[in-house]
């Protein structure tokens, strides 16, 4: 790997970074003063309600809009034909981040399947947008939706991912040639030979159901157009990408499209959706502010579905429990479209070996289209699926050999002396995937000790003797984050000496404003509360990427820190010019310039006034602008955080209910910029993972009708499902970015499903059943108990 950041200024020693600074975001959020899209009111604002397909697959015969057009309050009704020639089709948004070089390194195919804003002649999933009503009032817009008569000719649905690949299956999108959207094959070592030579071989089918991001704030988009400039406020985490795509699809100059980020109530994965194009388009058409706010049914029907993978894994291992080879073939049901190319499938491949040394490895992944809602990255984005596969595999080895499950992991963990460890495959950014220094075995031991593993084994023995079903689960994970491609920041000082950071970050709950104020404050020797933070406004920053994929601490954090470090040097140069002093003799602290050990010799605001361009400027030659610096941060490759979860559960044999008795994590995310925020991210991730393990599934019936379109059916975990979570830490600062940070936003959700399922399986008795699917749900647990009581459930051995 090339040396990092050699030309960059050294960072000042942290004062605020690493401390539990209280969040500046809280005051407005706690008092009802925050501004979400739904809270905004612009004069003459119009409201949109969507007409969505009630069929999984159907031909649209006709759409009768006449009655709706004359309904009270209706300003316009729009369908596909109204967008013809004015709005181009979506291309895969993740292509923006997919290097063509990846296809030279691994066997990968991604077909093009543009998605249009509205269905035109055919609908492909229940919930697909077909038409939109614009009215003066949201109630009236919804009234008019009921007056639109769409005549559908239903076609057969396609909900079985394996059936979609069978010979003779209907081809949903003829332009694909079959029902495969993408395919990848990533290998290293010689998996056939290693499997053949292994002392034991097991295979298993493992399934991860379809799950929904389900932020508590429904999506929303507001747009206004003044005849030349389009402004968009939306619940999207990628401001600059939305600007670019809207500019492209509506054929407007990028600098005539402005995305502004209002407060946003979570995300947990997502993408760019029809409404984010449609509402800006309607604003340009009607030349009035237009707003759409999603309701929960729409959210569960059509927004941010994900996961939905079926794996056939085979592992080869020795009698001591050492895994020598892993081969996996998997299918991912992407629904009707795949706007994310191989983002999720490649994450699944890259994270499948987690913390373990398995040098012979082959994964063949196929992304299949069906008549379900299009899949997008959901918190973890392919990693929970991979972690489920590898951790189930470790449990299979333990079960087959009669070994302790912690011991099997111990024997397979990559050891600290093997770091940096070459995983033998490229990461998605095309750089050879290499773990940075870390100590996985110490992490496991720390987690087991904090959990009191021996004590729980004893409590389990006692409980079993009393007929209670207590189980212990273990799961480790690795979380690649911050792989780029870039993030930008501007830091500047105004003539009053006040500091502002402008970042491409797009906060939606992670305390980014607080974090950015900390990293900038440290470089400029000031208190974080005095740093003004502006984020997510494309008019303030020429380019940026936003907040997703656990990237913001690494990407936006370092961009801001570097811009601030460069600004510190510039300030000292300007002060040196004023004082006729060597900048190296000067320091900047608490808004003043100090020379050697003397008292303050200049105020920062004096330097700012003096350095401002103009005839009175005293800035040094070469420093053409005033006190402003920009940094475009590009990391050399991803950085890899990790963690280990250990959990104890008790299963109620009658009801199948699972109670979590204790939950411990030990996390490693490099330098913790704000430990309070880190712990909050872990808590939330674990809760998400518990929901994914036990409660959450987007269920479709055989006709492709979704059955989980309310919160009574799609169950998020509550206070009664999530236990107190104990969080421990290891710290190995990343050497791939100046702050030493690693992402931590998803890890909790990555490991928790595997850990919880492992614990439930253990609770049902040693070797009694094999639990191979998430989510589990009480009915599946009761079924498993019956199976366990009826006899053993043998491992699936592979002969030869």
């Amino acid at each position: 790997m090339k040396p990092l950041l050699e030309e960059l200024p050294e960072l000042a020693r942290p004062r605020s970074v690493g401390t539990k600074v209280r969040r500046r975001e809280d005051a407005r959020l706690l008092t009802g003063q925050a501004t979400h899209v739904g809270d905004m009111h612009l004069p003459d604002m119009l409201h949109v309600a969507m007409v969505r397909s009630p069929f999984a697959h159907a031909r649209i015969v006709s759409i009768d809009l006449d009655v709706a057009r004359t309904a009270e309050g209706v300003v316009g009704v729009y369908t596909s034909s109204d967008l013809d020639g004015k709005v181009s089709a979506f291309v895969e948004s993740a292509r923006e981040d997919l290097s063509p070089k990846l296809a030279e390194l691994v066997d990968i195919e991604v077909k093009s399947l543009p998605m249009s804003v509205f269905a035109s002649d055919r609908v492909f999933w229940v919930g697909q947008p077909v038409a939109a009503v614009v009215a003066t009032d949201p109630y009236l817009a919804e009234d008019a939706v009921a007056l639109i008569d769409v005549d559908y000719d239903p076609l057969p649905s396609l909900v079985d991912v394996e059936g979609a690949l069978e010979e003779g299956a209907q081809v949903l999108h003829p332009e694909l040639g079959n029902n495969v959207h993408s395919h990848l094959l990533v290998e290293c070592g010689d998996v056939d030979r290693a499997l053949a030579g292994a002392e034991h071989r097991l295979r298993e089918r493992l399934e991860i159901g379809r799950q929904i991001s389900s932020a508590i704030e429904p999506r929303g988009v507001l747009a206004t157009f003044d005849g030349s400039e389009l402004t968009i406020w939306a619940t999207n985490t990628k401001p600059h990408l939305v600007r670019t795509i809207v500019s492209r699809m509506l054929d407007l100059p990028a600098d005539r499209v402005r995305f502004v980020s209002p407060d946003m109530g979570g995300s947990f994965g997502g993408g760019i959706f029809s409404e984010e194009i449609l509402i800006p388009f309607l604003a340009t058409e009607l030349q009035r502010p237009v707003r759409w706010i999603e309701d929960r049914r729409e959210n569960l029907l059509a927004t941010s579905h994900g996961r939905d993978q079926i794996h056939d894994v085979e592992i080869g291992f020795q009698g001591d429990g050492t895994v020598v080879a892993l081969r996996d073939r998997y299918l991912m049901d992407t629904g009707a479209y795949n706007t994310y190319a191989v983002t999720v499938p490649y994450n699944t491949v890259a994270h499948m070996r987690s913390q373990y040394r398995i040098d012979h490895f082959s994964v063949d992944g196929t992304v299949v289209v069906t008549t379900k809602a299009p899949a997008v990255p959901v918190r973890g984005a392919g990693r929970p699926e991979a972690t489920f596969v590898i951790e189930r595999s470790m449990d299979m080895v333990a079960r087959e050999l009669g070994l302790d499950r912690a011991e099997v992991r111990r024997r397979n963990l990559i050891r600290p002396e093997e770091m940096p460890y070459d995983m033998g495959i490229p990461y998605r950014d095309t750089v050879r995937m290499t773990y940075e220094p870390a100590d996985f075995p110490a992490q496991l031991e720390a987690a087991l000790e904090a959990f009191d593993y021996e004590g729980w084994l004893e409590r389990q023995r006692v409980a079993r003797a009393e007929g209670r079903r207590i189980g212990i689960g273990i799961a480790a994970f690795v979380e690649g984050s911050g792989h780029g491609p870039f993030e930008d920041a501007i830091v500047r000082v105004d003539e009053g000496g006040r500091v502002t950071v402008i970042s491409g970050a797009r906060p939606h709950g992670q305390g980014h404003e607080t974090m950015l104020s900390q990293v900038v404050a440290d470089q400029l020797g000031m208190d974080p509360e005095n740093v003004i933070v502006r984020t997510g406004d494309t008019s303030l920053l020429p380019d940026g990427r936003g907040s997703f994929a656990s990237r913001t601490a690494v990407m936006a954090g370092n961009a801001a820190a570097m811009a601030a470090a460069k600004l510190r040097q510039k300030i000292l140069r300007a002060a040196g010019e004023m004082l006729d002093a060597d900048p190296d003799e000067l320091t900047l602290r608490d808004g003043s310039i100090f020379r050697g050990a003397s008292d303050a010799v200049l105020a920062l605001r004096q330097v700012a006034v003096s350095a401002a361009p103009g005839p009175t400027s005293q800035r040094p030659p070469g420093d053409g602008e005033g006190l402003v610096e920009t940094h475009h941060f590009v990391p050399p490759t991803a950085t890899f955080g990790s963690g280990t979860h250990v959990v104890a559960v008790e299963v109620d044999g009658e009801t199948g209910g699972v109670r979590i008795l204790d939950y411990i994590t030990v996390d490693e995310c490099g330098t913790m910029l704000n430990p309070t925020i880190v712990e909050g991210q872990v808590h939330g991730g674990v809760a998400h993972g518990i929901g994914n393990a036990l409660l959450e599934e987007a269920v479709y019936d055989e006709d492709g009708q979704p059955l989980t379109t309310t919160y009574m059916d799609y169950l998020l975990p509550t206070t009664m499902d999530v236990p107190p979570i104990r969080v421990g830490h290891q710290t190995f600062p990343s050497d791939r970015n100046p702050l030493g940070a690693k992402g931590v936003g998803e890890g909790g959700a990555v490991a928790a499903p595997a850990a919880v399922i492992s614990a439930v399986e253990d609770a049902l008795g040693p070797g009694a059943v094999r639990l191979t699917r998430i989510p589990l749900g009480p009915e599946r647990i009761v079924g498993a108990i019956r199976k366990a009581d009826a006899g053993t459930d043998p491992s699936r051995r592979v002969d030869g």
Binding site: R22, R23, E25, D26, A27, L29, L30, T31, G32, Q33, A34, T35, H36, G38, D39, H41, E72, D137, Y139, L140, S214, A215, I216, E217, P218, D263, M264, G265, G266, F268, D295, R296, H508, G509, Q510, G511, T676, I677, E679, G680, H683, G684, G685, V686, A687, H688, T710, Y711, M712, L716, T718, T719, M720, V722, P724, I725, G748
Partner: protein, 159 residues
């Protein structure tokens, strides 16, 4: 659209309006009264984000019509802090314990917790969890919310 005249008390002020009969209290508060701190997460009574207090009892403002609140006393998150801006002990504790992340569900939690502490100033962890079990949060895992409510109870007892 035919409105119906109503008068109610919101956060200590008399509010008059003419909402359509079908308008929910949540929409009335947000659109007609301009109090957007009450949020809508599901509009079918599960997520609890829109929880307000009516005559001191927690109610899903998405499931009640504005016209049903004629003559009643409604409290929303905007009424929690003192007029001088000093925060309610629950708000203080939520901030101190990082009991909120995106903050979208927070108003509902604060309202539900306020009702709990009014009825039971000495709740234990189990009671806090039960009282908040009708409110969904996707960010925090509830760990710090529960901590914050227990701490706020302590603070309020000392006051």
């Amino acid at each position: 659209m035919n409105g119906q005249e109503i008068a109610l008390e919101v956060n200590g002020n008399v509010v008059r309006g003419t909402p359509e009969a079908r308008k929910t209290l949540a929409d009335f508060l947000r659109e007609d009264v301009g109090l957007t701190g009450t949020h809508l997460g599901c509009e079918h009574g599960v997520c609890g984000a829109c929880t307000v207090l009516i005559d001191g009892r927690s109610v899903r403002s998405c499931l009640i019509l504005a016209v049903q609140t004629e003559g009643h006393v409604v409290q929303t998150v905007e009424g929690m802090a003192q007029p001088d801006g000093s925060l309610h002990p629950l708000q203080e504790a939520f901030s101190e314990h990082h009991g909120l992340q995106c903050g979208f569900c927070t108003a509902g939690f604060l309202m539900a917790a306020a009702e709990l502490l009014d009825e039971n100033p000495h709740p234990d962890e189990r009671e806090v969890r039960e009282a908040l079990s009708g409110n969904l949060c996707r960010c925090t895992g509830y760990v710090n919310i529960v901590k914050a409510v227990l701490d706020a109870a302590d603070r309020m007892r000392l006051e």
